[in-house]
């Protein structure tokens, strides 16, 4: 009965092309005394790029961790590919603000880690890792150790590692937040190109409104205390996008709209 219901749910979700769906998702800590996220209802279409934007404490990271199954929700329904999220699962790959590379492994060994944890590494896996490092622009640094790479390069390795998981949903938690402005801008543009190439669905957490709009098809605007999903804002601009886009009046109208939502809540 239960399985029939969930397979029926999966079928409907697939028909609509929706990969992540949340209904009234909530998370509280300390037996309900601290509410991190409340009543979040949303759906994410396959292959879309969604930014989660909002000030600290609005539950952006909490929502990402809920979707990854790293923490359990305290209320509501949450499905990925139509399946209920219970614990960590292999449909999603995560990337954090810190590169979280293993310092005792070379770049390419770090990229191969996800495979190594699942099965024996094959020649095809090695070839794929080499290809991914080239894709993130680190072809010549395969045998460098993390401490020999700059912060931006370390995040590129982390991105390659994320892609090596083969997950079709990428959860990025302020991945370039610790980098300088120039590096960040360049990596953002490369990120758009790369996720476009692999056709992944992407959730991107940031507290930078411009960045959120520039990258995304949809912006989830979130407000704090308690964390709430205030509104989904659609971003209509065509791809590929260039930094000049941020100077157009249409773009700035959207920025104003998001600012307005954040300011009035």
């Amino acid at each position: 009965m239960n399985t029939m219901q969930s397979s029926a749910q999966a079928a409907t979700a697939a028909r609509r092309g929706i990969v992540i769906e949340g209904r009234d998702v909530g998370k509280s800590f300390g037996g309900g005394s601290v509410i991190a996220l409340e009543g979040a209802s949303f759906s994410v279409k396959a292959g879309s790029f969604v930014s989660l934007v909002g000030p600290s404490g609005c539950g952006k990271s909490t929502l990402l961790r809920l979707i990854a199954g790293l923490i359990d929700r305290t209320s509501g329904q949450l499905t990925v590919h139509g399946r209920d999220v219970k614990g960590p699962h292999s449909d999603v790959g995560m990337m954090f603000q810190r590169a979280t590379l293993l310092e005792w492994r070379t770049a390419i060994e770090n990229v191969l880690l996800p495979v190594e944890l699942q099965r024996t590494v094959t020649a095809a896996d090695r070839a794929r890792a080499t290809e991914l490092l080239a894709m993130v622009g680190l072809k010549d640094f395969a045998f460098s150790f993390p401490s020999q790479l700059s912060g931006g390069m370390q995040q590129r390795v982390a991105l390659a590692r994320l892609l090596q998981t083969g997950a079709d949903i990428l959860l990025l938690d302020e991945p370039f937040g610790a980098l300088d402005e120039f590096t960040r801008e360049r990596l953002n543009i490369e990120l758009m190109r790369i996720v476009g190439e692999v056709g992944a669905t992407t959730l991107f957490v940031t507290h930078n409104i411009l960045e959120a709009i520039f990258l995304a098809d949809e912006v989830m605007v979130m407000t704090p205390r308690p964390g709430r999903l205030a509104r989904m804002v659609h971003v209509p601009f065509a791809r590929p996008r260039t930094p000049e886009l941020t100077l157009t009046p249409e773009f700035n109208a959207l920025v104003a709209e998001v600012r307005d939502i954040l300011g009035t809540h």
């Binding site: 790293l70 960590p88 699962h89 995560m94 810190r98 005792w104 190594e116 944890l117 045998f143 020999q148």
Partner: protein, 290 residues
């Protein structure tokens, strides 16, 4: 042009180092000479400061003429090796188990604190009473003094594992054993090595205490015997031998640490990086030949 400048800088640096070395040797020889002179003129009590020449003669005697130190060194170092190995394995193993298991840790914590506050050497006579005279109780004493540093360091290394990396491993679906093998232990290696260094130094003290108490054989017993016979020069020769061993242990552990925790030093990164690149190339070639 630039080459000439670097070359000049290099030779300049070398001669400076040579000059410094010469000064060190000069000061050292002067002190030894003064000491010898003081002993010769009777200014120094030979019970506290036997003449350098007398110590040198003792060295010759215990190493070559009489050659009696070899056996005692062999016995003591054998005990150090046995006790250190057993103590380390126990310490690292238990540290990893306790660190990975929150429940065990909570219940064990009070005992660890109490035991850590107790001077381990105080337990030595009890161990001898329980295990009797002989090698077993000596090894037990050395194990006891060796156990704590690796245990505590492994424990703290395992507990303080990077949270983000832990989350990453979880999100990649790693099992508990994989987390231990691929993240926790490698990350704890530098701290564990620091514990091992302390443990080996403690082992050297431990064997001396065990031999002081049991007084049957070993370098500790030898020192005791020479001192009782007021043969201070020979006792000094034994102590200087221990100084040398301690120094070699320190240097050896430093080398081992650089080797094992290769990612913590520049030379290690270059060495291992080159080796891995080569292994990778070999694997690729094998693949294309097949």
């Amino acid at each position: 042009m630039a080459d000439v400048v670097t070359q000049m800088a290099a030779t300049g640096g070398k001669s400076l180092r040579q000059r410094q070395n010469a000064t060190h040797i000069g000061i050292f020889l002067t002190l030894i000479l003064l000491w010898e002179l003081g002993a010769l003129m009777g200014w120094l009590d030979p019970l506290f400061f036997p003449a350098p020449s007398a110590i040198l003669t003792s060295f010759w005697r215990i190493y070559f003429a009489q050659g009696n130190i070899w056996y005692h060194l062999y016995v003591s170092l054998g005990l150090v090796f046995a006790g250190f190995t057993a103590g380390s394995i126990l310490g690292i193993g238990l540290g990893a188990v306790v660190g990975m298991n929150g429940l065990v840790r909570r219940f064990l914590q009070p005992y660890v604190i109490v035991l850590e506050a107790t001077p381990r050497i105080a337990v030595a006579p009890l161990l001898i009473a329980a295990l009797g005279f002989g090698a077993t109780s000596k090894i037990a004493i050395i194990m006891l003094v060796c156990f704590f540093a690796p245990f505590i360091n492994t424990l703290s290394g395992v507990i303080n594992v990077d949270r983000d990396r832990m989350e990453l491993m979880r999100s990649l679906g790693a099992s508990k054993l994989q987390v231990l093998r691929k993240l926790v232990l490698p990350e704890a290696v530098p701290v564990i090595m620091a514990g091992e260094r302390l443990a080996l130094t403690s082992a050297l003290s431990g064997v001396l205490v065990a031999e002081f108490i049991q007084r049957d054989q070993g370098i500790g017993t030898l020192i005791l015997t020479y001192t009782r016979n007021l043969n201070m020069a020979s006792a000094f020769a034994c102590i200087l031998t221990l100084t040398l061993i301690g120094f070699l242990i320190f240097k050896g552990m430093e080398k081992l640490d650089h080797h094992i925790a290769y990612w913590k030093n520049e030379a290690g990164l270059r060495r291992v990086g080159a080796k891995r690149a080569q292994a990778w190339a070999t694997a690729q070639r094998g693949q294309s030949n097949a």
